[in-house]
């Protein structure tokens, strides 16, 4: 018989307990702990990339038209469905999503675990389409601007180029720059301010990543 813990037990009896006295003493989380989500609606551009990448399906949004014809978008994060993987924050080009070190997330009533924010998304003021490198930029449909959601995608606004390389649909594009950032060949240049979308044909390898990642389905191949 062997009692390896005899010494341990006796010495511990006379030493201070190693307890973290949490409810009585604050216990801050470690740096970079991913806790409660904070959403900054003022910077959100409603690209919906976060919703697309969310594994747990925790992110949703509603949008209502206000009297100006603008969309009032409410984006909510259900912490009760979140895996705190940080992917949404990672993908958010505008850094609107942030995972804080606050871990006090207790839900007793409905809504306790919902983080949400509302912002107004201005309706697009029909800027002149600037087909940078898309010769087949079909001007046929000048989009009625009525529904924000493409309710009639019957005919694609932009014809595919046919060579496998991407083409932009300016009516859908919100210039979020994800395609540019995700392009493995760095063939895309997107300028949000100037609303420019440019493809460097030499660098493009027609991999299709940009179309894949586009949250608005504004790229056709």
């Amino acid at each position: 018989m062997d009692f390896p813990f005899v010494k341990e037990a006796v010495s511990k009896l006379f030493s201070k307990p190693s307890c973290n006295m949490y409810p009585f003493v604050e216990s801050p989380a470690a740096p970079n702990y991913r806790g409660r989500i904070v959403f900054h609606p003022e910077t959100c551009i409603n690209c919906n990339m976060c919703e697309r990448v969310c594994a747990g399906g925790a992110i949703t949004h509603t949008s209502v038209k206000n009297e100006d014809g603008d969309d009032v978008v409410t984006r909510s994060f259900d912490l009760g469905s979140c895996t705190f993987c940080n992917t949404c924050a990672d993908f958010c080009t505008r850094h609107s999503i942030e995972l804080t070190t606050d871990y006090h997330m207790i839900g007793i009533e409905e809504g306790d675990l919902i983080v949400s924010g509302t912002f107004v998304k201005k309706a697009i003021k029909k800027p002149a389409p600037k087909p940078a490198a898309a010769p087949a930029a079909a001007p046929a449909k000048k989009e009625g601007a009525a529904p924000a959601a493409p309710e009639a995608p019957a005919a694609p606004a932009v014809q595919p180029r046919g060579d496998g390389k991407p083409a932009q649909d300016p009516s859908k594009c919100v210039y979020c720059t994800i395609c540019a950032r995700k392009c493995p060949g760095e063939a895309l240049t997107v300028d949000r301010k100037e609303k420019i979308w440019k493809l460097d044909e030499d660098k493009c390898v027609a991999c299709g990543t940009c179309a894949d990642v586009c949250p608005k389905n504004a790229i056709v191949l």
Partner: protein, 325 residues
């Protein structure tokens, strides 16, 4: 005449209900388990529950709903904990506190031996009455633990009977109060060479009888859902918890009475405190410490341990006592 009978009756009732009966058992037993839990926690480098935690547990359980499973035999199921508790209190009444015992004369080692069976038996029957298969496994283990503890306990008690009997010139002494008196006059039994192995063996029996680590196979909450108590809820469970607490008190105070009976001053109140202090020490050493440094054994290991190591020690003591050492 009637007045004196009435007063006598009142005194008896006082013994049974207050000291050293129910109230005393309740308070001291709970306190002992509280201290035990605290000490175990401290040995594991934890803060541990407050010492009054067993009281909280008890009152909380009293306030819970009692569920009697449809498959259970209702009366047995509900009565079993009460019988067990009553039997334990009766044992406590017999255990002398340095010469003072509430009911001397009828206390006898063999009676104690059998009375110790009753709480376990009550728990077993209650478990059997619940109809749960977990309780079935638990009661089987409890029964084996009883068998395991019985042999060393018998040997220890016979050795004591022989030692005291030798010294008293009667050859044999089964009476607890006699044993207590002998110790008051001649010093504690632990000072005798032959009694040292017996004391060690008895100390090893304490965790087995009280069902604490590492011999708590019968109530193994992680493997068989609390075993015997799997179907108990509410007040009956509270009574079981109380019984366990009283059993801790009973076993430790029996240990103190048998081996440290000579310690004390002669004033009952002070002796009571001293005995309780000794009980605390015994609990700390034989229950808490053992709990902290061991892991649960398998039931056949429990049996083997008791029938070899512990019984061996007790046997050595008996042989020594036989030859008058």
């Amino acid at each position: 005449m009637t007045a004196s009978i009435f007063l006598n009756g009142l005194q008896y009732l006082g013994y049974i209900l207050i000291f050293p009966g129910f109230l005393f058992c309740f308070l001291c037993g709970m306190l002992l388990t509280g201290i035990d839990r605290k000490l175990v926690a401290r040995m594991q480098k934890r803060v541990g529950p407050p010492i009054l935690q067993p009281f909280y547990d008890f009152f909380k359980l009293c306030g819970k709903e009692t569920i009697v499973p449809a498959a259970a035999s209702r009366t047995t199921f509900l009565m079993a904990p009460l019988v067990g508790l009553a039997a334990l209190v009766v044992i406590q009444l017999f255990i002398p506190i340095r010469g003072f015992s509430a009911f001397s004369g009828m206390a006898d080692i063999i009676v104690i031996l059998y009375l110790l069976l009753i709480p376990a038996l009550a728990a077993i029957l209650g478990a059997a009455a619940s109809g749960s298969p977990y309780a079935g496994v638990g009661l089987s283990r409890e029964m084996v633990t009883i068998i395991a503890c019985e042999l060393p306990l018998v040997l220890v008690l016979l050795a004591i009977a022989k030692t005291v009997g030798n010294a008293m010139g009667t050859g044999l002494c089964f009476s607890l109060s006699e044993i207590a008196r002998y110790q008051v006059e001649n010093g504690s039994l632990i000072t005798k060479l032959s009694m040292i192995p017996a004391a060690v063996a008895f100390a090893m029996v304490i965790p087995g009888e009280t069902g604490s680590h590492p011999f708590d196979t019968a109530e193994a909450e992680t493997e068989i859902c609390e075993g015997m108590h799997a179907e108990y809820s509410g007040a009956p469970l509270a009574v079981f918890k109380l019984s366990h607490a009283v059993k801790v008190l009973t076993m430790t105070s029996l240990f103190v009475a048998l081996f440290f009976g000579g310690v004390g001053t002669g004033i009952t109140a002070i002796d009571g405190v001293i005995v309780f202090a000794l009980c605390v020490v015994a609990t700390a050493l034989f229950i808490s410490f053992v709990h902290a440094v061991t892991a649960r054994l398998k039931i056949e290991q429990v049996f083997k341990y008791y029938w070899t190591v512990v019984s061996g020690l007790a046997l050595i003591s008996l042989v020594l006592a036989w030859y008058g050492l």
